[in-house]
């Protein structure tokens, strides 16, 4: 057991730190709401440019193989990078679904041609990806998906609908799960496609969320033709490929949420320091102080549990079901931070953007509302508990 960094890791930390200090625009946090969860529409272009800059500096996809645009480093360097981004309140990359999910899955299952074609353009943010998994009747029960892909010569013809599709409105590509063999048992007849979003027959309709923003969408497929060469990981093998993506998703969400939890907690502490309760700072209120300390402790505890998971990854293991535990605790911690921010604000929690009396420009009520999605997106907390119960503890399926 050793928490000290090797000289190489220390050098990497210094490199990241120096680069962030030199490159991060000063007014960044105000413009892109660094404390909130998903990039907002007004920030897309600046975030695209930001990811491009990070890529040029070699700071996107650091764990990916060099042949496919990465740096071939370990998850320790990824952790160092994420920690530094948290300390400097840097926004996360825009192409998060590609970096966190599509890329690692293509690197794991793709043909050599696919691996050379897609990952580098994900890293540079030239091509943005979205994830076509959930459907109106297939959410937590993903294997119930009904979108059909029927063979027609060298193509598959897709009909159906996806929903809750983040970034579909700006995406160039989609990871698409569609049913290719309706007669097979429901987990067996699914195929994973790499779909060009410019293909005719695709309609994207934005969905407005409880925040008032529209980050996610409905996507309709009307006889959309995909070349058979766009299958990833083999015909009717989509469930296994898709599950790998989800494990990476939870891992990536875990990394990303760790950063956002730290940023949100630091923001909350700053907020509590300047808020007054009965004439004293809210941090000196004995009850709020206990709650703040508890969140501080949990944020640190989750970090070390994450570090233990990384130690296992370094031994060459794929991300396993323990990623579910990481995802679950981080989202619950983040939701508690947001709820405590509301408590600290008191009646001012009601005031949103546009009010001159709103605290921090109305950031907190927005990120509070957005945080409700944390325990739903990327697999609900209930599904994570099922995975932990069944795959870690070995309890029987219901």
């Amino acid at each position: 057991m050793d928490f000290t960094l090797t000289p190489e890791q220390q050098a990497f930390r210094d490199e990241v730190r120096a680069w962030l200090r030199a490159s991060l625009p000063k007014d960044w946090a105000d413009r892109v709401h660094a404390g909130s969860d998903v990039p907002r529409a007004e920030a897309y272009e600046s975030l695209r440019a930001w990811q491009g800059k990070m890529y040029e500096a070699g700071l996107v996809g650091v764990t990916w193989p060099k042949d496919y645009g990465g740096r071939g480093l370990t998850f320790v360097e990824e952790l160092i990078l994420q920690e530094e981004m948290a300390v400097h309140k840097a926004p996360s990359v825009l192409n998060i679904l590609a970096i966190g999910m599509a890329g690692p899955t293509i690197i794991a299952y793709g043909t050599e041609e696919q691996k050379r074609r897609y990952p580098p353009r994900m890293l540079s943010c030239e091509e943005i990806w979205c994830q076509g998994y959930s459907e109106p009747n297939a959410g937590s029960d993903l294997a119930a998906l009904e979108t059909r892909a029927v063979r027609d010569g060298g193509h598959y013809v897709v009909n159906g609908q996806k929903v809750w599709t983040s970034l579909a409105h700006i995406a160039d590509w989609m990871m698409l799960l569609a049913r290719t063999d309706p007669a097979a048992p429901r987990h067996k007849g699914i195929t994973y496609f790499l779909l060009d979003m410019k293909t005719p027959g695709i309609t994207v309709k934005p969905l407005r969320q409880i925040t008032g923003d529209a980050e996610f969408n409905e996507v309709y497929f009307d006889s959309v033709r995909i070349p058979a060469s766009q299958i990833l990981g083999g015909l009717d093998n989509g469930w296994a490929v898709g599950m790998t993506t989800l494990m990476y998703e939870r891992l990536a969400l875990g990394f990303g949420l760790q950063v956002r939890l730290r940023i949100a907690l630091d923001g909350l502490v700053a907020l509590a320091r300047k808020s007054r309760r009965r004439g004293i700072a809210a941090t000196r209120d004995p009850i709020l102080r206990q709650k703040l300390a508890q969140l501080w402790i949990e944020t640190e505890v989750f970090k070390y549990t994450g570090a233990r998971a990384i130690t296992r990854l370094l031994k060459g293991e794929l991300p396993g079901p323990e990623a579910s535990a990481g995802k679950m605790m981080w989202v619950e911690g983040h939701q508690r931070v947001q709820e405590l921010a509301m408590e600290v604000l008191g009646p001012y929690a009601q005031l949103t953007r546009g009010s001159g009396r709103a605290v921090d420009g109305g950031l907190w009520p927005h990120s509070f509302l957005r945080s409700r999605a944390n325990s739903i997106e990327g697999g609900t907390t209930e599904i994570q508990r099922n995975i932990i119960g069944e795959r870690v503890l070995g309890l029987p399926k219901g």
Partner: protein, 378 residues
């Protein structure tokens, strides 16, 4: 960066688990907890033969020269077995106080005998006010005839009734806080010192009231320097807190294991109860709390071994988190077992009571959260 145990540490764990399964199964735990001593001379001798009593002392003093990460492994296994007896009080409290504060001669006089199982020393650090140290240290040390006279009462002193000597935290002068805190090594047979064994909820851990009525001590009974005992005592209590957290992790893991095994076989409405989400989800929450407890405890143990600057913060984060976690995990274990979990016959109550007692030992979660708030300057 590496958050794993070494091959030697894995070996220590498997050897400890095997030893305790053979020599200290729950039947033995129940026999021991019903005796005032909580330990038999034969089992203590066997524990000494394993090298555990000198695990963290230098080889020059008859120890194995290992560190707190190694001790963490052993404490987890002892917590898993809910082992009774004076291990924590002897090795990590009394012995470590001699190690941290004592002169070369004092260490030489006591540590080899502790390591060999020939002597036991405990620590008295809290008075009946139950105010955490150093503020609550109230036993008065008055200079007399070249030595000192000690008067006062210490409460919650573990295993004082079977110890050969006690390290007593007393106060010289009228100071407050750390001022005047002095450590004395007091043989239990010293005239004026009386020990009363207290009936406690957790019968596997014996707590005593120690009364000192004008106890006359020579000058060489002082460990370290007069008035400067807090530094060493603080280090001892921090290390003991980490060791206790490790013991709590081991107990919580055992409760989880027992509960999961039961949920796989116990049938209700024609299915194993573990197939119901009401049970499965609570078990998942138990796992998360157990794993988090281990993470922060291992980190704190590493910080103790390294003498890292963030050590005190790591210790308080660990005790705050693990105190709540073990209590909740033990309670969930009883709940998921149903009626059988509430019986004397089932072992769960041993863990539930150990969790509750441990919660208050070396400061509860509320106390340590306040310390964290202080240390990070909230």
């Amino acid at each position: 960066m590496n958050f794993g145990f070494s091959a030697e540490q894995d070996l220590l764990r498997s050897a400890a688990r095997k030893f305790l399964e053979n020599e200290c199964p729950s039947g033995v735990v129940r026999e021991l907890m019903d005796t005032p001593e909580g330990m038999t001379p034969a089992l203590w001798r066997q524990i000494a033969e394993q090298g555990w009593l000198g695990l963290i002392y230098p080889e020059a003093f008859g120890g194995m020269g290992l560190g707190f990460v190694d001790l963490t492994v052993l404490m987890e296994e002892m917590g898993r077995a809910v082992m009774p007896g004076p291990y924590l009080s002897t090795v990590v409290l009394g012995g470590l106080a001699v190690r941290e504060a004592g002169s070369e001669a004092q260490q030489k006089a006591w540590l080899p005998r502790i390591a060999a199982g020939e002597a036991r020393v405990t620590l008295a650090w809290m008075d009946p006010s139950a105010v955490p140290p150093p503020d609550g240290i109230a036993i008065a040390a008055v200079p007399r005839g070249g030595g000192f006279s000690l008067s006062g009462t210490a409460l919650f002193v573990p295993d004082a009734h079977t110890a050969d000597a006690l390290v007593v935290a007393a106060r010289a002068g009228d100071g407050q806080g750390a001022e005047g805190v002095t450590l004395f090594l007091v043989p239990r047979a010293t005239p004026g010192l009386t020990v009363l064994l207290l009936p406690t909820m957790d019968q596997t851990r014996k707590l005593c009231e120690v009364t000192l009525a004008d106890v006359a001590l020579p000058a060489d009974a002082v460990l370290g320097e007069v008035g400067r005992g807090w530094g060493a005592l603080d280090r001892v209590l921090q290390r003991a807190t980490v060791a206790l957290c490790a013991e709590m992790c081991g107990g919580a893991q055992k409760v989880l294991d027992t509960t999961v095994e039961y949920a796989k076989i116990r049938q209700a409405f024609g299915r194993p109860i573990g197939s119901y989400q009401g049970v499965k989800h609570r078990a998942a929450d138990m796992l998360v709390e157990v794993e988090n407890s281990k993470s922060i405890t291992y980190y704190a143990a590493w910080a103790m071994d390294e003498g890292a600057a963030e050590g005190p913060l790591a210790v308080s984060m660990a005790k705050a988190y693990v105190s709540d976690a073990y209590r909740r995990v033990a309670a969930a274990g009883i709940q998921l077992h149903g009626g059988i979990g509430f019986t004397w016959e089932h072992d769960l109550h041993l863990y539930f009571k150990r969790a509750k007692g441990s919660e208050f030992t070396f400061g509860d979660a509320t106390y340590h959260r306040e310390r964290v708030a202080d240390l990070v300057d909230l």
